[in-house]
Symmetry: C2
Subunit: 448 residues, 2 copies
């Protein structure tokens, strides 16, 4: 007999079916044993009826049923019955049917659970028990949404002439000269874990013009916050032959619009379960220069930050509130951060010297991307490195791309986990990261 | 004026167009300057005609043209002319048209090249100069094919109820107890780079039943061979509720068949350029047990390896030859390797004790996958760890998945770079790896 997925049981009323999955809940009610089953597609209530009166003992199903507990894995033959009208549970998957259990095969016995699946537990307990706690509906919903986001990202770029590439994570020099990279013992040398595929995606623009990479990046940041993790998935694009950073802004807007479209098609149930709203993406995301944004903050909140080179978290929240109020937009670009605060490869605006052709994208109160046009001229790039105190000799591999002709180009990176969290209204990034690593945790190791 | 891609020029004969790209080749012929241009879509020959007789000096296009060299990035306005019949180059992209160059804008000047693009250079020179050498047609073709393979892999699995997940690469314990993992300084602890997502994908079967992950894995192997690299991309699947390993074999066959189908649709030109043949996937890939394979080797080649626990490279080549001869198949599964040679989580065949329910897939002379059913019973898994001399306490995080009910399951991993190389008939894995890392090389660092 072929397996029927639980979501399809409603099409088999009055038929015998075979389902496979986990015992989700068990309830004993007099001579009845109720067993809720769960598979990847959903849940259904099953019941083991008492053996007929003329039987000499309990039914075979009953004999297995009494030893089952939640998380036991089973294969169940049963008959799909329509529930009597008074027992119908509206708004619940399979709330109008019930599986009359005829046979149960126990495929894997579960031990006693540490706590009920879906219990409110603190974050550490949740993380210590991930192989179990991830099975809860809400957490499954988060990572289903995440899978849909990354797939939609790639799907859209494949329609726009982008080529996917595999960026290396094992790198030699720390590109940005920061102290935030992890050291690796590499055959007697010290290597590092890449903080971003930035230099490689620029190199690849010289090869394929438009490229993307979606993979892990690493930040050896010592603080443990609700916004940061030490290993995350970066969705990175880089595109050649742009006019300027506004081409990248348009591309990012279109990528997000496509992701939202797919989320609406595929993940409405997940958003509902998590009480989250899928955002609308405006035709054009509003954009202000940093200095204009600071003027807005001064006018609206009386705080003068007009000479600061960056936005503080509170400023980001205020500008998002303003964008919502003024343009009814969940998103706002802030462009033209100072050259001094941006990496060496960022393009300076010829018409606004000291400021860069780039932007941060703010979404629901937080920055989710930094994008920019990059310097494509070899001499200017070397000069910019020197101004930042970097040694061009250390970048000679990367610089080859520029020696041998690079088009005007730009791109961005966006953290998959942060995007998932913001879409779903999850406060702590660790809940939107499947197996989060932080200063105190790798699985249940380190400080635990 | 909108940019026209070079591949579309044939639709614009007698029209003025704007193209953008690189100078591929320059040839001066008397008063004519021939410039071949290249963009992501292809190549076209351009020509700067002499200025009209009544002109007082050279044309504007000529002034720019004389300073151009290969790899200069340009924006070119020109007129698409049909070539006279005697000048038509058949079998060449745009061999029947020519671009009469009217205006050239130099977007980025190239320095003198270290050697001509596409020159036969030794592997080290190729690798030292990747930002330049990757621009060659053949190398671009390799990595276009690679992008199509990984995308087809994910596309197929998404139609088969698999959920993608992001496996961590930063791990605590070295799961398989081997010495081949890289050490990372992790906030005062020693962490490792994952050699495979094996334990995580098993955990995820408990969550989503069918999962896949495509990401980097790391092997700290000290040897530098044509088959091994230290960082590669692993295409990993794991599926629950299987009958046994043959379900995984069928799934792998179907994945490969889909990849081949897509390669035929999208990459015929790349295979032709590289002189490679897209393999056919039989409806059912032939399978022999290890001991049967060893009998075949004895009969066909007179070598008795019938008590050895594994196949040597020569044995793999012989079995592939046999499969080609006997079943006209480029692929053959070898099943039932001994328990002693397989990892602790591999399932022992109840009907063939001492041997495992798993297989190696051989393709054109080499193993490309190891697949298997896994142990899903908690007690058996702990017992197997102990027999292998592993400490179950170190696996307590992973073991939670089994304590709380795991279905029968199995899966495989396949190296994207090795698969790309074997499909394309590339001998050295380093040429099918975009930025290969080995004992002597990270980019052009380490021993260089």
């Amino acid at each position: 007999m072929e397996r029927t997925y639980i979501k399809d049981l409603k099409d088999h009323v009055s038929q015998e079916v075979l389902i496979k999955g986990w015992v989700d809940v068990r309830r004993d009610q007099g001579k009845l044993i109720f067993l809720d089953f769960r598979d990847v597609s959903g849940k259904v209530q099953g019941v083991i009826l008492p053996a007929p009166k003329n039987a000499t003992g309990p039914s075979a199903a009953h004999e297995v049923g009494v030893i089952l507990r939640p998380e036991c894995v089973v294969s169940v033959k049963g008959k799909v019955n329509q529930r009597p009208p008074k027992n119908i549970q509206k708004d619940k998957q399979n709330g109008d049917i019930e599986l009359e259990i005829l046979e149960i095969e126990l495929l894997s016995k579960a031990r006693e659970l540490p706590f009920e699946l879906g219990s409110e537990v603190n974050l550490d307990t949740y993380l210590d028990n991930l192989p179990f706690t991830l099975r809860d509906d809400k957490h499954k919903a988060i990572f289903r949404v995440q899978a849909v986001i990354i797939n939609a990202f790639r799907e859209y770029l494949n329609t726009q002439g982008f080529t996917e590439f595999q960026a290396p994570k094992l790198i030699g020099e720390d590109a940005e000269g920061g102290a935030n990279s992890f050291n690796i013992e590499y055959f007697g040398h010290v290597a590092h874990l890449g903080q971003s595929p930035q230099l490689y995606k620029q190199i690849m623009v010289g090869v394929f013009e438009r490229v993307f990479a979606a993979g892990n990046v690493y930040r050896a940041e010592k603080h443990s916050t609700t916004r940061h993790i030490n290993e995350y998935t970066s969705l990175d694009i880089e595109m050649g032959f742009i006019k300027d950073h506004t081409d990248v802004m348009k591309m990012e807007r279109n990528i997000l619009a496509y992701i939202v479209k797919v989320l609406k098609e595929k993940c409405a149930a997940e958003f509902k379960l998590l009480g989250a709203t899928i955002p609308e993406i405006p035709e054009e995301i509003p954009a202000v220069k940093l200095r204009e944004g600071q003027e807005i903050i001064k006018k609206e909140h009386g705080i003068d930050c007009s000479t600061e080179p960056d936005l503080e978290p509170q400023h980001e929240r205020w500008l998002c509130e303003y964008a919502k109020k003024k343009w009814d937009s969940d998103f706002i670009f802030v462009t033209h951060f100072p050259v001094s605060k941006r990496p060496f490869y960022t393009y300076e605006d010829e018409n606004d010297l000291g400021f860069t052709k780039g932007a941060d994208l703010l979404f629901r109160g937080i920055e989710i991307t930094t994008l920019a046009q990059r310097i494509h001229d070899y001499d200017k790039l070397v000069e910019s490195m020197k101004r930042k105190g970097l040694d061009p000799e250390k970048f000679r591999y990367y610089l080859q791309a520029f020696k041998y002709g690079m088009p005007p180009h730009g791109g961005f990176g966006i953290g998959l986990e942060r995007l998932t969290a913001k879409f779903l209204g999850i406060d702590n990034i660790k809940e939107a990261t499947l197996f989060p690593r932080d200063i105190n945790r790798i699985d249940n190791l380190l400080s635990s």
